[in-house]
């Protein structure tokens, strides 16, 4: 039997987690965890290098297995196309970084912590490798459950409340999107959850307008809650504030992108008319993300809350790209998702590093940390620049493409989106200034007198380097992602053309 790299990337972390749960001693558990986090990342990078340039819309590395539900049209079908490949790479790399950081974190009950993180990692690899939309949903839930538990047990302040709120919001979102997926499955008449067949079916016989309207609406709000669409975003800053750093990295960096990815891969091609119907509403809500949440981020005094609200705010750009319902907008959204995933994971990682040195997240009690920890300061400044979208980082290409797409659909909206960049620059640079520069505050001087802050250790530097390296790599050579992306987006064009033909607006 031929070894299936995608299945291997999903199964390795899950198998390692199972072995750890079964009672492996701690010493071996940690060593095995390196394998569990390393294998998916290695496979993801290897597949990236092997991905054929002119793949078009076709899925690569396909395989299909029947697990007992084939009579309902459900099969474990795995594969990657140009849209899922960047996400798959993102999941692998952020997973490895989060795993490396968790291993050195010395958390209580480290074994269970690592095992849960590995389950999450396995689920994430599965989400982006699934061609079957049932398993796409299934793997998302598989990754979501450990998040709740990790927030509840290893979380910080308000963990009980945060875990409860997170669970309720995300389950509601997941249920709505499941209802939408089933609606589309049922209305298409294809009797299968296989995305390729569903797309072909939708192209040959588009769904009725009513089905598209309700289907896309359910998916939009279901996925929207999962991606913290304004005004359903309140779980996110609270949850990330309470979550342990590795869980926050994986969730905000990768798992949250599930909703956007679902909108791009499932909702947009299958219900393009529905997308056009909802695009006005989505634009308003997404501007709420960019402007209102941006202003809320300005008012935060807690470092983790600043990063959390910033992450919610940046989701608005991706939503605007989807609301543009154009090929360029979708491409920009994918680039944005990858770049944002890397940069927000890096910011969460570095925030926790800062916390270990200042013993507080409160911005008003910090200052002058750069004198003690120059390397940490350099990393943090770089991450901030990336999230603002400076050229040279991957984020630049994502934002640039998005602004072009948004401008084409409405210059006014584009003006609002660009105003968001200014807001980002203000709150992000203010945070940098408060943490690292200026005279040390009284509270911080007391901490320094107690334990002098040490600079970033290698165990912390390694995961940070990994994330920063990829950000710069994509920033300087965007072709590496845009080439497969372009060829895959070609497949969206006919679906979006259907929309244009059926669009009642002039």
């Amino acid at each position: 039997m031929q070894l299936d790299p995608l299945l291997l990337a999903i199964a390795t972390p899950l198998a390692v987690a199972a072995v750890i749960f079964a009672g492996l001693p701690k010493r071996y558990s940690v060593r095995l965890a390196y394998l569990g986090f390393g294998v998916p990342a290695a496979i993801a990078l290897w597949l990236w290098s092997r991905f054929p340039a002119g793949a078009g819309e076709a899925y690569q590395f396909m395989s299909s297995r029947d697990l007992g539900l084939s009579l309902l049209g459900i099969k474990l079908t795995l594969g990657l196309n140009g849209i899922s490949l960047p996400m798959f790479v993102l999941a692998g790399v952020v997973g490895l970084a989060a795993g490396l950081y968790a291993i050195q974190s010395g958390a209580e009950r480290l074994k269970i912590y690592l095992a849960l993180l590995l389950v999450m990692q396995g689920g994430l690899m599965g989400v982006f490798a699934s061609v079957d939309i049932f398993f796409f949903y299934f793997f998302h839930e598989l990754a979501l459950i450990p998040t709740f538990i990790m927030v509840g047990i290893w979380g910080g302040r308000d963990r009980g409340y945060a875990a409860m709120k997170l669970t309720i919001y995300l389950t509601v979102g997941a249920m709505l999107s499941l209802a939408g997926l089933i609606l589309i499955y049922h209305q298409s008449g294809a009797q299968t959850f296989d995305l390729i067949t569903l797309r072909a079916e939708a192209l040959a016989h588009p769904l009725s307008f009513t089905a598209q309207k309700y289907g896309f609406g359910l998916l939009l709000f279901g996925f929207g809650i999962l991606v913290s669409l304004w005004p359903f975003h309140t779980w996110a800053p609270l949850g990330y504030g309470a979550a342990p750093s590795s869980a926050a990295m994986l969730h905000s960096g990768v798992l949250k992108k599930f909703g956007l990815y679902g909108l791009l891969q499932v909702a947009l091609p299958l219900a393009p008319v529905g997308a056009a119907h909802w695009s006005g509403v989505l634009t308003v809500l997404a501007l709420g993300n960019v402007l209102i949440v941006g202003i809320i981020a300005l008012a935060q005094r807690d470092l983790k809350q600043v990063v959390g609200y910033g992450s919610v705010m940046h989701m608005g750009y991706a939503f605007l790209g989807i609301a543009a319902t154009s090929v360029v907008g979708v491409g920009g959204a994918v680039l944005m998702m990858v770049a944002h995933g890397l940069s927000v994971a890096l910011l969460f990682l570095l925030s926790t590093c800062i916390y270990h040195r200042t013993h507080t997240f409160d911005l008003t009690e910090m200052g002058g940390l750069a004198r003690h920890t120059p390397v940490l300061a350099a990393f943090f400044v770089a991450a901030t620049m990336a999230s603002i979208g400076l050229p040279g980082f991957a984020n630049f290409w994502g934002e640039l493409t998005l602004f072009v797409a948004i401008w084409k659909s409405s210059p006014w909206v584009a003006a609002g989106a660009v105003a968001g960049v200014v807001i980002t620059a203000i709150y992000a640079l203010r945070a940098v200034a408060k943490v690292f520069f200026g005279p040390p505050t009284e509270a911080f001087s007391r901490v320094v007198a107690h334990v002098a802050p040490v600079d970033l250790r290698w165990a912390e530097r390694l995961p940070a380097l990994l994330l920063l390296g990829l950000l710069l790599f994509i920033g300087f050579w965007p072709r590496s992602l845009s080439a497969p992306l372009n060829s895959a987006l070609g497949s969206l064009a006919p679906a979006l053309a259907v929309k244009a033909a059926a669009d009642p607006r002039p």
């Binding site: 697990l67 839930e141 047990i153 009980g160 409860m164 509601v172 249920m175 209802a179 089933i182 609606l183």
Partner: protein, 507 residues
């Protein structure tokens, strides 16, 4: 009495077809014999005999699974053997086996006679098997009463515990009422079907026979007496499954009953009710236009009531009781959808399997996390369970997750199959209610998990004062194996359904 009629009836009595029922009842009697014969010191081995005997029966039944699937009537049309009946036989045998295992744990804490408990459980299980295979209202009622009378005793089994007695009394009153309603409905149907003036040609069997009831309804779907009878019979069954508006007994009885009996009520009694309902739904199919609205209103109200009422509970037995009510609502949706597409029944059956596996995992943990007074089980008793008993906490999380319908656990697949069936049947309103119900249920299921796994803040105890100890029973190895198997089964059935769904769909 005509002798030749008796002869022909006797020729129909194929005792060998009653394979698991008869040996199960005989095993139950054998336990009583053992109690008389064996010296008192060796009475402790009687539960072991009960459990091993049921395991042996289960193996024999599974080996011979195809043998019982002949579509035929036996005992002069009293019983109808079918693949569905065979499925429920396995389900009830597993249920009584698991109840017996939990019973050993629970009875060890009490000063009570032991053997009768296992005896009654097995007799009730045998009666449940006959209930779902009955093809005649007399057989139906006798089997149902055997089940109900057995439960009267089981619910008040801890006779020194006032709450158990109260529960027994409530169940007795409510059960008697429901039996009366059911009987009244049967009599009305009998009166209508047996009316010679209305009899359609070709009714050979008596007026209580399911086939002739169905034939009559085909000919006269608008007969008022028959319609009233149908509604009353459905009401009687609704008592068994705890559907709104006949759910009023559920929380009190579930709380007061010994935990293994609660499990038996929650899984066994409910599955038996649904087995009967599926059979009756087929019989009443000609009156679809009456049955579907009645069941739909019931399903919607049941889901909403169960979930909303469970939100406010702090006693876990009441919580699981009310959440069980909502599960009956989801299952009812499947039964309704089966009117549009018979394949929906496979969803109901898979849901029952998943519900059994998950419920017994939770009830198994509940049996261990309580003291002598089994009615007193609050959420706060679960504090720090993950620290002191990680194994129990893991089983609890998997069981509750499966009940909540979270992937990758079996409960999710069950809910998915029912939702898919409801979608293709076009039951959008019910589906919306069901989705809403699932969302509400996350709150209380997760609240329970939170109580067990996330360490809570507690009043600091003054120095020198002992920390109040929480009621916990150590987990012996048979229970450990059982609970471990149930937890693994929930996960495996969620990931790999293998031949089960194929078998359920292909019937």
């Amino acid at each position: 009495m005509n002798l030749s009629l008796l002869q022909s009836a006797a020729a129909d009595n194929r005792w060998a077809d009653l394979f698991p029922e008869l040996p199960l009842a005989l095993l139950a009697l054998f336990l009583l014999v053992l109690e008389i014969v064996l010296p008192k010191r060796q009475h402790r081995s009687i539960p072991v005999v009960a459990i091993l005997g049921q395991v042996a029966l289960l193996v024999a039944l599974l080996v011979n699974l195809r043998g019982g699937m002949t579509e035929q009537l036996t005992f002069n049309g009293l019983l109808r053997h079918s693949p569905t009946g065979q499925f429920f036989r396995v389900l009830f045998l597993v249920t009584s086996l698991l109840v017996s295992i939990l019973g050993v744990v629970s009875l060890a804490r009490q000063r009570m006679p032991r053997v009768e408990f296992f005896h009654i459980v097995m007799v009730v299980a045998a009666a449940m098997m006959l209930l779902v295979q009955s093809h005649h209202f007399v057989m139906f009622f006798v089997a149902l009463e055997t089940v109900t009378v057995g439960f009267y005793i089981l619910v008040s089994y801890f006779r020194t515990n006032p709450l158990s007695l109260e529960a027994g009394l409530k169940y007795l009153v409510m059960g008697a009422l429901s039996s009366a309603i059911l009987l009244f409905g049967i009599v009305l149907l009998y009166g209508a079907v047996g009316n010679p003036a209305l009899a359609p040609s070709g009714i050979a069997a008596g007026a209580m026979d399911f086939a002739s009831v169905r034939q009559f309804l085909l000919a006269h779907p608008d007969n008022f007496l028959a319609q009233l009878g149908i509604v009353l019979v459905l009401s009687g069954v609704a008592f068994k499954i705890g559907a709104v508006p006949f759910q009023i007994w559920v929380p009190d009885v579930y709380q007061g009953a010994p935990t293994p009996v609660t499990a038996f009520l929650a899984v066994g009694s409910k599955a038996a009710g649904f087995g009967a309902l599926v059979v009756l739904a087929g019989v009443f199919a000609p009156c679809k236009s009456l049955v579907i609205p009645v069941l739909s209103v019931m399903a919607g109200a049941t889901i909403l009531f169960g979930n909303l009422a469970a939100l406010t509970q702090y006693n876990v037995k009441r919580l699981i009781a009310l959440s069980g009510v909502s599960h009956a609502g989801y299952l009812l949706i499947g039964v309704i959808a089966a009117y549009y597409d018979p394949a929906a029944l496979s969803g109901v059956y898979f849901y029952l399997i998943a519900y059994l596996v998950a419920s017994f995992a939770v009830f198994g943990v509940m049996t261990h996390v309580c003291g002598e007074n089994e009615a007193d089980q609050e959420l706060e008793h679960y504090a720090d369970l993950a620290q002191t008993h990680p194994f129990l906490a893991l089983v609890l999380v998997i069981g509750l997750g499966s009940l909540a319908g979270i992937p990758p656990l079996a409960g999710f697949i069950g809910k998915l199959m029912i939702f898919l069936a409801a979608f293709s049947a076009g039951l959008y309103v019910l589906l919306g209610i069901a989705v809403l119900g699932v969302m509400i249920s996350i709150y209380y299921y997760f609240g329970w998990i939170k109580a067990a796994c996330f360490s809570a803040w507690r009043l600091p105890t003054p120095a020198g004062e002992a920390v109040p100890s929480l009621p916990r029973t150590p987990v012996a190895w048979p229970a450990r194996i059982t609970l471990g198997t149930l937890a693994v089964a929930s996960v495996v059935l969620g990931l790999w359904q293998g031949p089960i769904i194929g078998w359920l769909l292909a019937r």
